[in-house]
C-alpha cells in the first residue's frame, strides 16, 4: 500500500504524463479539505456550506507572508515584501483559520440544518467578496488579480519548485509536492481517526444525533460545536497554505461557492463520517472533471467530427446524475460509515423479511 503510494507519481507520470501528477496533487489537497469538513458535517452534524472560506484564509495567509506583494501596500515597512518560512506560516494559518471557524461558529450556535447552511454559505461568500475588494484603499489582497510570485515551499532547505536528483532518480517538482501532500494527508487521516474514537468524537456524534439529549447528558454543546468548527477550519487553513505554496498564485475565484459545494459533495458522495469514504469521494470528484476535460473533446471529434458538448457542461450533467443515482441507491454514500452501513444492512433484512 505504502509502496504503491510512493510509486504513484512515477506511475502516473509514465502512463498519463506530467500534467496528471499535478492533478493528483490537487486531489490530495481536496482530500485534506474533505476530511476537515467531515469533522464538522460528518461527526458533529453541522451543515457548513462556507467551508472553502477557511481554505481561503489559509491560502491568503501564506500568500501575504510569503511573497513580494506587501511591498506595494507598505513599501517602507516591507521593501521586499514579507518572506516568512512556510513552516512558520502554516501553523499560524491553521490557527487563524481555526479562529475564524470559532468566529463563524459563535453566532450560529442556535442554528441547525438548513438555517445553519444558509448562514455559513453567506460567510463563505462574504470572505470571497472581501478578498475581491480589499485592494483599496490599501492594496492588501490585490483584488481579483490575486497574489502571484508566492515563495515555493522549502523542505530542509530544498525548494520544492526545483527538480531534485536523489540516488540518481529524478524527482520533478510535482513529485516532490506529492510526497509533501501525502505526508500531510496521512497526518490529517491520523488526527481524524483519533478524534473519531474518543470522548470528544462521541460527544460530537451525540450532538449530531440529538442535541437536547446530548446537553441533558452533561455535554457542553456550545463548546463542542465551536471546537468542531475550529478543528475543521484548522484543516482547511493548513491545506490552504499548502495550496498557495504549491500553486504560487492565489486569487478569489479559487474560493467560490462552487468549491464549497464540491468539497461537501466529496464528503456526502463518499460517505459522511467515514474516513475511507471521504477519501474515495475526494479522489473521484477531484479526478472526474480532469478525466472529462481530457476525454470528452477528443471523443466527440472522433465520433462526430466536431465538438457538440463542452466538458464543463457535461461535467455538471454527470455530476447531477451521479448525485441522483446516489440518493436512490446508496443514500449513505459509496462507503457508508460503520454505523450507517449497519443501519442499511438491517433495513434491507427487514425489507426482505
Amino acid at each position: 500500500m505504502l509502496a504503491a503510494l510512493l510509486l504513484l507519481p512515477f506511475a502516473t507520470d509514465a502512463l498519463f504524463g506530467r500534467g496528471w501528477v499535478r492533478i493528483v496533487d490537487f486531489a490530495m489537497l481536496y482530500i485534506m479539505l474533505a476530511l476537515g469538513l467531515n469533522i464538522v458535517v460528518g461527526y458533529a452534524g453541522l451543515l457548513d456550506l462556507g467551508y472553502i472560506a477557511f481554505f481561503a484564509v489559509g491560502a491568503y495567509c501564506y500568500a501575504l507572508t510569503g511573497s513580494p506583494h506587501l511591498a506595494h501596500a507598505f513599501p517602507l515597512l516591507f521593501p521586499d515584501g514579507v518572506h516568512l518560512s512556510f513552516w512558520i506560516v502554516m501553523p499560524l494559518a491553521a490557527l487563524l483559520a481555526g479562529g475564524f471557524g470559532a468566529l463563524l461558529g459563535a453566532p450560529t450556535l442556535r442554528l441547525r440544518g438548513d438555517y445553519l447552511a444558509i448562514v455559513t454559505l453567506g460567510f463563505g461568500e462574504i470572505t470571497r467578496i472581501f478578498l475581491n475588494n480589499l485592494n483599496a484603499p490599501v492594496n492588501l489582497t490585490n483584488g481579483p488579480q490575486g497574489i502571484s510570485r508566492i515563495d515555493p515551499i522549502n523542505v530542509a532547505g530544498i525548494s520544492l519548485n526545483t527538480t531534485q536528483e536523489i540516488f540518481s532518480i529524478t524527482f520533478p517538482s510535482v513529485h516532490l509536492y506529492f510526497y509533501l501532500f501525502l505526508a500531510f494527508t496521512a497526518l490529517v487521516i491520523f488526527v481524524s481517526q483519533r478524534l473519531e474514537k474518543s470522548r470528544i468524537g462521541r460527544a460530537w456524534m451525540a450532538i449530531r444525533e440529538d442535541e437536547i439529549a446530548a446537553s441533558a447528558m452533561g455535554i457542553n454543546t456550545r463548546n463542542l460545536k465551536l471546537l468542531a468548527f475550529a478543528m475543521g477550519a484548522m484543516f482547511g487553513g493548513a491545506s490552504g497554505a499548502l495550496f498557495a505554496g504549491f500553486q504560487g498564485f492565489v486569487s478569489p475565484e479559487s474560493f467560490s461557492l462552487m468549491e464549497s459545494i464540491m468539497v461537501l459533495c466529496m464528503v456526502v458522495l463518499g460517505g459522511m463520517g467515514n474516513i475511507a469514504g471521504v477519501i474515495l469521494g475526494g479522489v473521484l470528484l477531484a479526478l472526474l472533471p480532469e478525466v472529462l476535460r481530457h476525454s470528452v473533446v477528443p471523443l466527440q471529434q472522433v465520433l462526430f467530427g466536431k465538438t457538440l458538448v463542452d466538458p464543463e457542461s457535461l461535467r455538471m450533467l454527470l455530476f447531477g446524475a451521479a448525485l441522483i443515482v446516489m440518493m436512490l441507491y446508496r443514500p449513505a454514500g459509496l462507503l457508508p460509515s460503520r454505523v450507517r452501513r449497519r443501519e442499511l444492512d438491517t433495513d434491507e433484512v427487514a425489507e426482505k423479511a
Partner: protein, 258 residues
C-alpha cells in the same frame, strides 16, 4: 456543601409561555434516597417542571436548590454535572449509535480527555477509555439489556430503549434520577421489571423523581407523591393520603378535559 436532608428544594417555581401559565408557585422538596412521584392529568405541567429542573427551560419565577447550591437559571450540562440525570417522555436516544456508545456518552460528564488526549492517546486517556467501556457494559447489564452491546439504539425494542435511556442517565453518576413516564407504553411484565429496577436503583442510594400515569406503579413504588393540576400543586403526601384527597379526585374525574 451542606448535607441537608432535602436533596432538591423548589421554591415558588413559575413558568409562563406567553400568556399561558404552565407552572405557578410550585414548591416542593425531595429527600435524599426517596422515590418521589409526580402525577397529574395531561397538560398539568409535569414535564414543564422537569424541563425547568434539568435546565431546558428557564423558570419565569422562583428558584430551586439542588444539593446545597441555588439555581435560578440552570444550563442543562451544568445541572447534569451537578448530578441531575433525566430520561425523556418521548425517548431521545442517540438512535444511530450503538447501545454501548449511548451509555459511553453518558460518561462524558464524569471524564476528562480532551483533544490532546484523543490525539496523543496517552496512558491516562487509554485508561479512561477502558474505564468508560467497562462501566458502560456494566450498566447495560444492570438495566437488563440482553442484546449485543453493538446493536444500534433504534433497533432495540421499545422496552429496551426505555431501559437504555435509564442506563445512559445512570452513566452520569447522578444524585437524582428524573424519569419522565418510564412505563409509558410498557406491558405488565415490562412494568413489573421496571419497578424492580427502580427499587434496585434506589437501594444503591440514588434518589428517584418519577412522572408517571400508571397509578398502580406510583402507589406501589413511591414514598411520597405530589399532584399537579393546571400548573399548581394541589396535593402532596404519602400515596394513600393523596389518593383519597378530594381535590385530586376532582382533578382526575372532573374539571379536566381528558
Amino acid at each position: 456543601m451542606t448535607h441537608s436532608p432535602s436533596l432538591l428544594q423548589l421554591s415558588s417555581i413559575g413558568k409562563q409561555f406567553g400568556g399561558l401559565s404552565a407552572l405557578s408557585d410550585v414548591s416542593l422538596h425531595i429527600q435524599r434516597g426517596e422515590i418521589y412521584g409526580l402525577i397529574g392529568p395531561n397538560g398539568a405541567g409535569k414535564t414543564t417542571l422537569f424541563n425547568v429542573l434539568t435546565g431546558l427551560y428557564q423558570p419565569s419565577a422562583g428558584e430551586f436548590q439542588f444539593n446545597g447550591t441555588r439555581y435560578q437559571t440552570g444550563k442543562p450540562h451544568v445541572l447534569a454535572q451537578a448530578g441531575i440525570a433525566r430520561t425523556f417522555q418521548n425517548i431521545r436516544l442517540f438512535a444511530n449509535l450503538t447501545a454501548l456508545e449511548n451509555v459511553m456518552i453518558g460518561r462524558h460528564v464524569r471524564t476528562r480527555a480532551g483533544v490532546f488526549g484523543a490525539l496523543l492517546r496517552d496512558r491516562t486517556t487509554r485508561d479512561e477509555e477502558h474505564a468508560i467501556t467497562v462501566r458502560a457494559r456494566e450498566l447495560l447489564r444492570y438495566v437488563g439489556i440482553e442484546k449485543p452491546a453493538q446493536t444500534l439504539a433504534r433497533h432495540l425494542s421499545y422496552g429496551e430503549q426505555r431501559r437504555l435511556e435509564i442506563a445512559r442517565a445512570l452513566a452520569t453518576d447522578p444524585l437524582l434520577l428524573a424519569l419522565d413516564e418510564p412505563a409509558a407504553g410498557m406491558n405488565a411484565t415490562e412494568t413489573a421489571s421496571l419497578k424492580t429496577l427502580l427499587q434496585t436503583i434506589r437501594a444503591s442510594g440514588i434518589t428517584v423523581l418519577l412522572i408517571e400515569h400508571d397509578v398502580k406503579l406510583i402507589m406501589g413504588l413511591c414514598d411520597r407523591v405530589a399532584v399537579l393540576d393546571y400548573g399548581k400543586k394541589i396535593a402532596e403526601g404519602v400515596p394513600e393520603e393523596v389518593r383519597k384527597d378530594p381535590a385530586v379526585i376532582a382533578a382526575y374525574l372532573g374539571g379536566s378535559d381528558d
